[in-house]
């Protein structure tokens, strides 16, 4: 469960402040598939950063899986993200010079998974995104859709409880976008994981269980 209470995020100091998030109160139950919908600049990305512990709120508290992120030290927060959370980004962020295998292996290495167990998990993740034949190929030789599938494999290899996807289909055509969407939904449903999709795509948002609409740093509507 992700629980936000009175979360406010402001940037800048003195008279020149900008409020990115304004008194957000929100509860996302476990295993929910949620869309955070809003235009660019609405604060939806900031909301995702704060929910994942990448950013800290100026005011309010964030509780994820029963832990108040404010109470965690930097090191504990890193470990928490490494074990329980993962990300998909609009621009993939796959490491082009590395092989697909090494890309998927990265989060497992960060989480300290022993070498002996890594291989099986990497292969399983690549299999689930149908990239087994590309295991030893360099990521830069993949197409856009393949790159995003690789990013999904990287995200799910560590079996995270919560998956954040920031505009996962933003750089893809509708056909490949649909494949990526299906992979994300399948993972969340099969593993009872929470999926938070940040998007301005209404069609994608409509496929989620809960839609949270954000505008100017406030939640305007929550549709179940």
């Amino acid at each position: 469960m992700i629980e936000l209470k009175g979360v406010t995020k402001t940037y800048g100091k003195g008279g020149n402040t900008f409020t990115a998030l304004d008194n957000i109160n929100l509860t996302i139950p476990d295993a929910a598939v949620v869309a955070v919908v809003g235009k660019s600049g609405s604060g939806k990305s900031t909301l995702m950063h704060i929910m994942s512990g990448l950013d800290r709120p100026s005011e309010g508290s964030v509780t994820v899986s029963g832990r108040n992120l404010h109470d965690l030290k930097k090191k504990e927060l890193d470990q928490f993200r490494a074990r329980e959370i993962s990300f998909i980004f609009q621009s993939f962020f796959v490491q082009g010079g590395d092989s697909c295998y090494d890309n998927v292996s990265l989060p497992l290495e960060i989480a300290g998974v022993p070498r002996s167990k890594r291989q099986q998990r990497v292969e399983k993740a690549l299999e689930s995104v149908e990239l087994t034949d590309k295991t030893r190929q360099k990521a830069k030789n993949l197409s856009g859709g393949q790159k995003q599938r690789l990013a999904i494999a990287r995200a799910i290899a560590g079996q995270p409880r919560i998956l954040f996807a920031d505009e996962p289909t933003g750089n893809l055509d509708s056909a490949t976008g649909a494949v990526v969407e299906k992979l994300l939904f399948d993972y969340a449903r099969a593993n009872k994981a929470t999926l938070v999709v940040v998007t301005h795509d209404q069609d994608l948002a409509a496929k989620c269980d809960i839609q949270i609409h954000v505008k100017d740093g406030r939640i305007t509507e929550v549709k179940q």
């Binding site: 950063h49 990448l54 490494a82 990300f87 962020f93 010079g97 290495e109 960060i110 989480a111 300290g112």
Partner: protein, 453 residues
């Protein structure tokens, strides 16, 4: 994240920028190359000098001087000194000399078997039998404590003086003297011409001389005398295989050397005063013990082992200069690493952001970049060391031949341990250089970093 995984990732990251990595490593390899050679020069020359002293210098001999400026490096011209009539002047510097009382003091030590002063010889010129030309050259006393090799004729065994009227000619003199074959010189005569300076006489002495022998006596007494001494060439000294430099003086016996020195210095302040003396310590007695005893009397004494120390100081200076160049090159390459790694951090901002989002700690990120720098340092050090060893091994026979070091002697000796330590040190230097960029990477704001692309 485990250290081994970070090291492996660092290595892979470098492989993705092969040319840049190689160029940065090459900058370090220049320093590594020079430092490898400086290590090899140090090791080689030290071993060479040790071997040289072992075979050439009697370990029981002591080199005694009155002035410690003559040995070691603290001496030299340090400004004007008060005039001392007994002191010797060498290129503007004044040195205390040994007198007969000093020699007696040394000889009085029960552990000394003999004392031999170094005679101060100045020949005006010398002639060679059958050649009308007059030559100038250094005349010195034959050193029986140093092993010599004869190109022709024969030299006495170590510790024995040549015959009183014998002279040993260095091989390098033959050409100038017009001798084609060293064997032809044996038995020929060399005549040394020495001059005694005019004596300073008091007015009374001059008047007495005039009264006795008239103007002729006066002229003879104030004009200075000269003397011709003839020697028979007993041997031509070859340049030994293991020698510091060619022996470039005419070597005469101790008796004649003393006579000539006494004659030329007659009436001067240098009469019967000596710059240095060689004392022989009795067998079975440690030279160091006798040295300590003699130094209590105010003399400066050097043992054969001390001589080795002085030579090693020279080696250290040479080695230091070469190493200095290496360190300069290394210093330049440090900036190369810093620059390369800074660019790398900027290029990989997105990657750093992703790794941080995935829970990689700042410390692990910093470590990743430092290990990349370490890999560059390692690569450069290996390339430089291998280059140095390769070139040195290739050139060693040629250097040995050019410097006449003799078979089996090499100027450059590559020892595995110092080279391994050098490589390790360079890796550490690279890590230090990589510290600045790695700190930048570690401090990067992940949200800011993820916004790029």
């Amino acid at each position: 994240m485990k250290r081994l995984d970070i090291i492996r990732r660092a290595g892979r990251n470098l492989k993705q920028a092969k040319v840049r990595t190689l160029l940065t490593a090459l900058a370090i390899s220049v320093g590594a190359f020079t430092l490898t050679l400086s290590l090899a020069i140090g090791a080689g020359t030290r071993e060479y000098f040790a071997k040289f002293l072992e075979t050439n210098v009697n370990p029981q001999s002591l080199f005694v001087v009155a002035d410690k400026k003559l040995v070691g490096f603290e001496g030299g011209n340090t400004g004007p000194k008060e005039y001392d009539p007994g002191a010797a002047n060498i290129s503007g510097s004044s040195y205390k000399t040994l007198g007969q009382s000093d020699l007696d003091k040394i000889a009085a030590n029960k552990n000394i078997s003999s004392v031999q002063p170094n005679y101060n010889l100045e020949a005006t010129y010398f002639t060679y039998q059958g050649n009308s030309k007059k030559f100038t050259g250094q005349v010195g006393m034959y050193d029986k404590t140093i092993r010599g090799e004869a190109a022709a004729g024969s030299l006495p065994k170590l510790g024995t003086m040549i015959g009183a009227d014998d002279i040993v000619v260095p091989e390098s003199y033959l050409k100038a003297l017009g001798i084609k074959n060293a064997k032809d010189a044996i038995g020929k005569t060399i005549t040394v011409h020495v001059v005694q300076q005019a004596q300073t006489k008091t007015t009374e002495e001059l008047q007495a001389l005039y009264a006795q022998g008239g103007l002729d006596a006066l002229t003879a007494a104030t004009q200075g005398k000269s003397q011709d001494v003839s020697f028979k060439i007993s041997a031509v000294a070859a340049k030994p295989a293991t020698a510091l430099s060619d022996n470039v003086q005419l070597n005469i016996s101790d008796t004649r050397a003393q006579e000539l020195a006494d004659f030329t210095t007659q009436g001067t302040s240098q009469h019967k005063r000596y710059i240095a003396a060689i004392a022989m310590v009795k067998d079975g007695v440690k030279p160091e013990t006798v040295k300590a005893e003699l130094e209590k009397t105010g003399l400066t004494v050097k043992t054969a082992r001390d001589l080795q120390g002085i030579l090693f100081t020279v080696v250290n200076v040479v080695q230091g200069i070469v190493a200095g160049f290496g360190i300069l090159a290394l210093l330049a390459s440090i900036f190369g690493i810093i620059n390369t790694q800074y660019i790398s951090v900027l290029e990989r901002t997105g990657q750093i952001g992703l790794m941080k989002a995935l829970g990689m700690s700042n410390r692990a990120i910093g470590r990743l970049f430092r290990y990349e720098a370490a890999w560059i340092g390692f690569l450069g050090a290996i390339l430089g060391a291998l280059g140095g060893i390769g070139l040195g091994t290739l050139l060693n026979p040629w250097i040995s031949r050019k410097m006449s070091l003799g078979a089996g002697s090499h100027l450059l000796i590559f020892q595995p341990l110092p080279i391994c330590l050098l490589i390790l040190a360079l890796v550490l230097v690279a890590i230090v250089a990589g510290w600045f960029p790695s700190r930048k990477a570690a401090r990067l704001d992940p949200i800011e970093a993820l916004r790029t692309e």
